[in-house]
């Protein structure tokens, strides 16, 4: 099977420091891949090796069927990227920064810059110097440069950084539309796990330089633990009544992970009523991505 991104035993060492260790990552064409990891886990190092900015110590990276060569060769005309924080020449305007990118990408269409400015809602700032932009608009400029040449593959490091809530939704919809309607493959790292949860078809989790999990979002649903969350008028009495299910008191809640209780919450309700402490809240809750991620990386 052909992959948009494929890493084979990708490793990177800085002296004795292991930044990446035998990472075997597969990103399918047209999917949105969420790349998760704590700070220093190796996300940016992995992204930089995909873009030919860092030479692997071992293994290789294949992007759009081309092995990324140590000398910077790669299918760059088909790839848009945003690595770490965006960067731009502060004394040049938004338009001039993008015009440089247009020429460097050898895009013949002179309207490409205006089109991407409009797409990223930067029209009002087109003639402003990049150095005077707010961090949110600076991020938009970085995204505009990544999208300017209508790439087949987008490699984005924290694309939602510095954006306001409306901007986050806007960029999420833009990325989803690119992936779903135009078949663009999106590889994105993010620390906003809820964002990844909403966008990603597949998720890879990197920890201490190793890819510890790579799975479909649908499969993730099944892996996330579920629990029964209970609130009762008399928590102490409720805890005593539920002791067979190994309840845990968390703040004002009682949580139970026992499968019997999760599958039959009505049984728990009956138990509590019979114990004289009827539940005021009873809900089956699924672990969110953040909790799942933290559980894996502990």
């Amino acid at each position: 099977m052909n992959y948009a991104i494929e890493t084979n035993n990708l490793s990177k060492f800085y002296g004795k420091v292991r930044a990446l260790h035998k990472v075997n990552l597969r990103v399918r064409h047209g999917e949105v891949y969420g790349f998760l990891g704590l700070n220093g886990a190796g996300k940016t190092t992995a992204i930089r090796t995909m873009l030919g900015m860092i030479r692997p110590s071992m293994g290789n990276v294949k992007v759009l069927d081309q092995v990324i060569s140590p000398g910077g060769g790669g299918p760059w005309a088909k790839i848009g990227h945003l690595v770490e924080s965006p960067a731009a020449y502060p004394e040049l305007t938004v338009k001039e920064n993008l015009e440089i990118a247009r020429r460097m990408h050898k895009i013949q269409n002179h309207k490409a810059v205006d089109d991407v400015i409009e797409k990223l809602s930067l029209s009002f700032y087109a003639d402003r110097k990049a150095g005077t932009l707010s961090s949110g608009n600076f991020q938009r400029l970085g995204l505009a440069r990544a999208l300017l040449h209508k790439p087949e593959l987008l490699i984005l490091d924290e694309p939602a950084n510095a954006l306001d809530p409306a901007g986050i939704v806007e960029i999420r919809e833009l990325l989803l539309s690119l992936a779903r309607e135009h078949g663009v493959t999106v590889f994105m790292s993010s620390h906003i796990l809820a964002e990844v949860d909403l966008l990603a078809d597949r998720i890879g989790i990197i920890h201490k330089g190793e890819l510890i999990e790579e799975l479909d979002a649908a499969r993730l649903e099944g892996l996330r633990s579920t629990q029964l969350v209970i609130e009762a008028r008399d928590p102490a009495k409720a805890l005593a009544a539920l002791r067979d299910f190994e309840p845990a008191a968390v703040n004002s809640h009682i949580t139970i992970k026992d499968r019997r209780a999760v599958r039959q919450p009505e049984m728990i309700a009956t138990l509590l009523v019979n114990a004289g402490t009827p539940p005021t809240h009873l809900a089956v809750e699924q672990e969110n991505l953040e909790e799942y991620f933290l559980r894996l990386t502990k």
């Binding site: 930089r48 873009l51 030919g52 900015m53 860092i54 030479r55 140590p70 000398g71 910077g72 790669g74 760059w76 005309a77 790839i79 990227h81 690595v83 770490e84 924080s85 960067a87 731009a88 020449y89 502060p90 004394e91 040049l92 001039e96 015009e99 440089i100 990118a101 020429r103 460097m104 990408h105 050898k106 440069r145």
Partner: protein
Amino acid sequence: MKNFTAALWAEILKMRRSKVPLVSAIGFCMAPLAGGLFMIILKNPEAAKSFGLITAKAQLLTGTADWPSLFGFLAQAVAAGGMILFSIVTIWVFGREFSDHTVKELLALPTSREAIVTAKFVVITIWAVLATILIFGVEVAIGKLIVIPGWSNELLRTSFINILGTAILTIPLMSLVALIACAGRGYLAPFGWAILTLFIANLSVILGWGDWVPWAIPGLFSGAAGPRSEVLGTHSYIGLMITSLMGILALYHWWRFADQTK
């Protein structure tokens, strides 16, 4: 070629929009202004003293107020000042990509890294040549204004070749400044290097080895230590070329293979 044209267009735009090249060129104009001031003083030391332009110490100034002295002064100023000012512009052209973190936007592009480095060098060369022509023009205007003897078209031609030659011999040495700006990922290390090479150049000339030290060659070419045919040999130019070429090759190699983590 299109690769290079796009990169050159980008570098020229950055150069035009920045104040650094302009301020550096204005700074370079201090050389002909200082030359003009010395000519005024040498032409009429008593009047200069009465105007408070000089003190007793300045009477150490020797020479005559004429066109050969004026051009000679400018050539020496280009040799010393050029090394520093060309370095400043080189450090800015290369080092700014690391300080502004824009280097990562130059690495994964259809335009090759080699084309980008070459374009940077071309704009540095264009700037250095234009700045040298500018200060030469300013010096001619000042000389005409203060009216000094010794003008001839032949002197103008040989002085222009001398001054431009000094600048042209300085430019290739900027490859090492650029390399250190890139490897040091910023401004400080290459600036330290520029000062160090100026020091080494002066020391080597004092010790009599200047003809073997690439950074002393532009100064010796300018005539600062006597007629160039007496102080420089073919080995001097070859040494400068080899050193500069090694710098350029190392720079290309660095851009191609070094890990870019900034």
